[in-house]
Symmetry: C2
């Protein structure tokens, strides 16, 4: 089913629900144009700097970090439940060693306005251009967050992406 | 009308729409417990660190900055259109010089889980406890954003608040 443009606020319940149960797919390309997908359980959506913004959190150790640093763009893709296995794979393997798109039978679709691809099999895609990036501050975390999520350091960089296109398989979402 | 607890994802369309047209009200208290409200057109909502998160952006020059630094909490309140004049006032005056709650006839309601108050006349309140704060990085902005929004410097601090309570006047929202 062809995807149609939707407001960036559309399907926000689904967006958050997916983050909390398995995750969404953050897609990017490396310097050679090779696409990669990383599973994310964290993201924010809203309005900042008078622009629609999606914020994602990437550890410097991740392959995706270098990709976004190189291109300055990314896409966030909300998968249907049937992709649970692929989403798990993309969350445990690294794009340094594997071609996750090929191994998961995921189809990269050309970005409409960015270099990073969308993912054909996903329900919703937000294309984002980085307009600000900053790092979380270790001393500003509650100790329980450090213990639970940063035992190994590797503190996240926050990428604030201006959403330049949002599109969805509205028919599939109606039946979901 | 009494407000009832709602998921933090509820009314997200309304939340973004209000940010883009007049703004929402960021409420906090100062060291003396005096409530203050600041108009915001920027905010993000989602899931980070396995928690529901609302991110707000506050310039160091603002009275609210000191309040949040002191208490570590805040509330975001979505006003009905009838409050347009009060929202404008709260966006142009400073809590250093004025009692904005009193002058606007806004009623602070005791926070259910935080020291910052809710606002009786608003439709939706998210109570937030700061779990991370970091500053935007001037060198990482596109020049057009600097020109448009940071000609005077005063770069924002980003407060990531864990949403500990969300409640809404669902009856009023039904009729809106």
């Amino acid at each position: 089913m062809a995807k149609i443009e939707v407001p960036h606020t559309a399907y926000f319940d689904r967006y958050c629900q997916t983050l909390g149960s398995g995750g969404s797919l953050l897609a990017s390309v490396d310097a050679d144009g090779r696409p990669n997908a990383m599973t994310i359980g964290w993201a924010l959506l809203g309005v900042v700097w008078r622009r629609p913004i999606c914020a994602v959190f990437v550890r410097p150790s991740r392959y995706t970090y270098g990709c976004i640093e190189t291109t300055g763009d990314f896409t966030v893709n909300v998968p249907p439940p049937e992709l649970a296995e692929q989403v798990l794979f993309c969350g445990t393997e690294s794009g340094r060693d594997r071609d996750k798109f090929a191994e998961c039978d995921l189809t990269p679709t050309p970005g409409r306005k960015v270099r990073s691809p969308g993912i054909e099999e996903c329900w919703i895609t937000h294309e984002c251009v980085v307009v600000q990036k900053t790092d979380v501050v270790p001393e500003h975390f509650a100790p329980e967050i450090i213990d639970m999520l940063y035992a190994g350091g590797d503190f996240h960089r926050v990428y604030f992406g201006q959403i330049v296109a949002s599109y969805a398989d509205v028919e599939a979402l109606k039946q979901a």
